[in-house]
Symmetry: C2
Subunit: 199 residues, 2 copies
């Protein structure tokens, strides 16, 4: 009922996560109403993302070069490796401005339910980096799969390189978190990992 | 922090209605994870929508030809014109399969608050069609602007062509609508426009 090209655009937009018919329709109209220069630039950017972006050969993060900006940066502490699930986690962490080491992006988590095994992740290149490492911070999510992955990596690293300090990001109440709204697991961890007050 | 092309795609996606940073990020990743053929087709479709779609010169609906499929269809009743605000309304109406006449798409509504005057709408081409019309159905939304537009068109048409039947779509309770949840305006109209039971 819509012209063919508009119907095709609606179908293609429905592939985006959480986008149904109505939303795809609204997006398609909004794209149709862009001026031609903006639409051209939009289409070009989609192609650019496909043609230019690759995985950093060192850490597995997204990059437009063989090596990403963080791995190339000699100001950062290359003896510290923060292991995360996805490039989004790197961006979230970088926004804090609190971390000066490097990252390693697994691009997934070990998951028995999804059948994802260690070999399916970007782990081999992590092992290559370990001889130069002093600390590996396991920054996978505090979820079933995140914990499994952290435990797996901890075991492997401790066996191969017992001198490397392996740490796990803290598990506790979030900023502004209220005790009576927190789930039991979070509260239990917040209690177990309590620390002495600084005076 | 993300590669340049990915950041640009996120920015461009934020232009879509209701899309913020997080959603744009999710969409961008989903586009990045498409295979290259699909991404290419997606980008191409955006360009197609811009290069191929125009307004039907008769009714103002979207079309890939000078005249849209409905206006070209000789099986339809060209003496009946259903006036709507947008091409989306045509699609919604066509889905019912209940209407065999033609449409006229205003591509907007008269709105004093937004400063939209009759001349800003696709109304001139409606007047050209009136000499051949028997009925004009005013199908603009049951909103302030929709009612204003309907009243305006009714007045103009009645003055110029007193023989044309001008009708307004019914205003009442929707299917499955419950009286105690309906707003007062809807209830008042549902009462005023009540009709005799068919036996």
């Amino acid at each position: 009922m819509y012209p063919k090209s508009l119907m095709e655009l609606i179908e293609r937009l429905k592939v985006l996560p959480g986008v149904g018919e109505k939303t795809a329709e609204r997006y398609a109209f909004s794209i149709m109403e862009m001026n031609t220069d903006n639409a051209k630039a939009f289409a070009q950017t989609i192609m650019d993302v496909h043609n230019k972006i690759m995985y950093c050969k060192v850490c597995g993060n997204l990059s437009e070069n063989e090596e990403c900006e963080i791995c190339k940066n000699t100001q950062r502490n290359h003896r510290q490796i923060f292991v995360v699930q996805s490039p989004k986690d790197v961006v979230a962490m970088e926004k804090t401005g609190e971390y000066q080491g490097t990252y390693h992006v697994l691009n997934g988590l070990i998951s028995s339910s999804k059948g994802i095994m260690p070999d399916d992740l970007n782990i081999a290149s992590l092992y290559e980096r370990l001889p130069q490492a002093e600390e590996v911070i396991l920054g996978t999510n505090i979820t079933m799969d995140g914990e499994t992955t952290a435990m797996y990596l901890d075991k492997v690293i401790k066996t191969k390189y017992p001198n490397i300090l392996v740490t796990r990001i803290a598990h506790g109440l979030p900023s502004g978190g209220m005790l009576d709204y927190a789930d039991e697991m979070t509260l239990a961890h917040a209690l177990a990992d309590r620390r002495k007050m600084n005076r």
